[in-house]
């Protein structure tokens, strides 16, 4: 399938969904409107709301706050994940001691932590950053741990036979392997950083996309809720595209799917 054709089909799906939404909220089917606008809004109202936000400029402040929180959550969570992942992978005893606790904390739904973070860190951005960190940390941690553990034994033996010291092994073998695992989960961890920020805002804040959505919900403004969701979706797609670009540069040594040679 050519690229142009693919994009055309992708756009077509969106158009079809919006037209269907419009029809069902505007015209009667068998004497009844199937999607009452009070509960489902209409595409026109939602579009109007989005245009208003951008025209008046209010949205930029909220987008910036969410972006800031996401970036902090991602960077700090990743740093922690890399450090602990490396430490545990190289110290199996430490890993064994902490294993049940890591599993316990990871199994905890992060939403329940949000009020505690708000209590500790206030209503500003840092309580949201903290929530994002708890999500990002574990993804990066597990991947780095796996990356260090799963270095090919042949590559490792080869490195030893080429005279590498323990420190050189770290730099030339373990580190690149761990990074490649971490980057392969980049989309997931960046996505979770955004989730942490938005959920945190939703549960209590004064700015951000989550705050916008929560405010609209509070007054049964369905158009506002949908508009917030669409802006958030577009925001995530843009971030994802940026991540893909970075990934392509950093993992130039890796075969693209379907391109690998036997």
């Amino acid at each position: 399938m050519s690229r142009a054709r693919l994009i055309l089909l992708q756009v077509l799906v969106a158009v079809a969904a919006i037209v269907l939404w419009y029809m069902l909220t505007t015209y009667k089917v068998f004497g009844k409107i199937l999607l009452p606008p009070f509960f489902f809004s209409t595409p026109l109202d939602v579009a109007q709301q989005i245009v208003d936000w951008f025209a008046s400029g209010v949205i930029w402040k909220h987008l910036w706050v969410t972006l800031e929180e996401s970036i902090f959550a991602f960077v700090l969570g990743s740093l922690g994940g890399v450090a602990v992942g490396f430490w545990f992978a190289r110290q199996p005893r430490t890993a064994a001691v902490f294993d049940p606790y890591v599993k316990m904390v990871n199994a905890l739904p992060r939403v329940v932590l949000a009020p505690i973070f708000t209590l500790w860190l206030g209503l500003g951005i840092w309580s949201k950053v903290a929530l994002g960190i708890t999500l990002v940390f574990f993804i990066v941690f597990f991947n780095v741990y796996q990356g260090v553990k799963e270095v090919s034994p042949t590559v490792l033996a080869n490195a030893r036979m080429l005279g590498m010291s323990e420190r050189q092994l770290m730099r030339h073998v373990y580190w690149p392997s761990a990074l490649s695992w971490m980057f392969s989960s980049l989309h997931t961890s960046v996505g979770f950083a955004v989730v942490g920020a938005v959920v945190g805002e939703y549960l209590g804040s004064a700015a951000g996309l989550g705050y916008l959505i929560q405010q609209a919900e509070g007054v049964f403004d369905v158009a506002g809720v949908f508009a917030g969701m669409f802006v958030l979706a577009a925001f995530v797609i843009v971030i994802d595209a940026v991540v893909s670009l970075i990934e392509k540069r950093l993992l130039v040594w890796r075969p693209a799917v379907g391109e690998s040679r036997p």
């Binding site: 090919s152 042949t154 590559v155 080429l162 030339h172 690149p176 040594w253």
Partner: protein, 272 residues
Amino acid sequence: MGTATDTNQAAVALSGVDVAFRLAGGVYTAVGDATLTVADGEFVAIVGPTGCGKSTLLNIAAGLLQPAAGRVDIFGAPLSGLNRQAGYLFQADSLFPWKTALQNVAIGLETAGTPSSQARALAQTWLGRVGLGSFADRYPHMLSGGQRKRVGLAQVLIRDPKILLMDEPFGPLDAQTRQIMGNLLLDLWSADRKAVLFVTHDLEEAIALSDRVVIMSAGPASRIIGDWKVPLARPRDIGEIKLDHAFHELHRDIWHRLKAEVIKGYALTEGA
């Protein structure tokens, strides 16, 4: 049996080496009482059925494995830890996938403290020697299996090891590529005649390349059961030497002894 007995001169001398692995069901003896010497500058091939412990013996010589009993001497000195005088070409892919061909070849020098610019210049020379001069910036996944083996060969030889250990290095390659790689190896080897211990399951390859062919029995506790000198003149061309009368005679002799072991080994691994 033409084994050299003078272990002081030998590049590699294994005497009475036992190798055992602890498995769930008890202790598995992979190699029993192996005695083998490789003189300096000698090209020795080890041939045996699958799973007979050929690679295990190489890992012992490399210092990657410790024997349960027996001794290992390298140029007359007992081996402890890794064998620093040996270069090892592995059967499986062993290049660093995150480094280019050039970086892969240069790394062995860089870690030893050679300045980077100097190491890279020499690496470029070595890539030229193995016929990959214009592939310096390729990552391993962009190279074919044969090209990756060439890079591996350059990676090992650039450090100028006194001993070359090779574990079925050309195993995964197709027949034509193997022949080309074999000639390349002989070419490079003839320049300074390192001691080579070459493991293969291919008897023709073993005879065509080496000065001596050593046969191992099927495992467990496989032993060395035969040792033949290869009376073929050098320099050799792998393709042409296989048409030589002496080659055929030797092949028939060795195969006669090897056949029984291959059948035994096959029966064991297939559980028949």
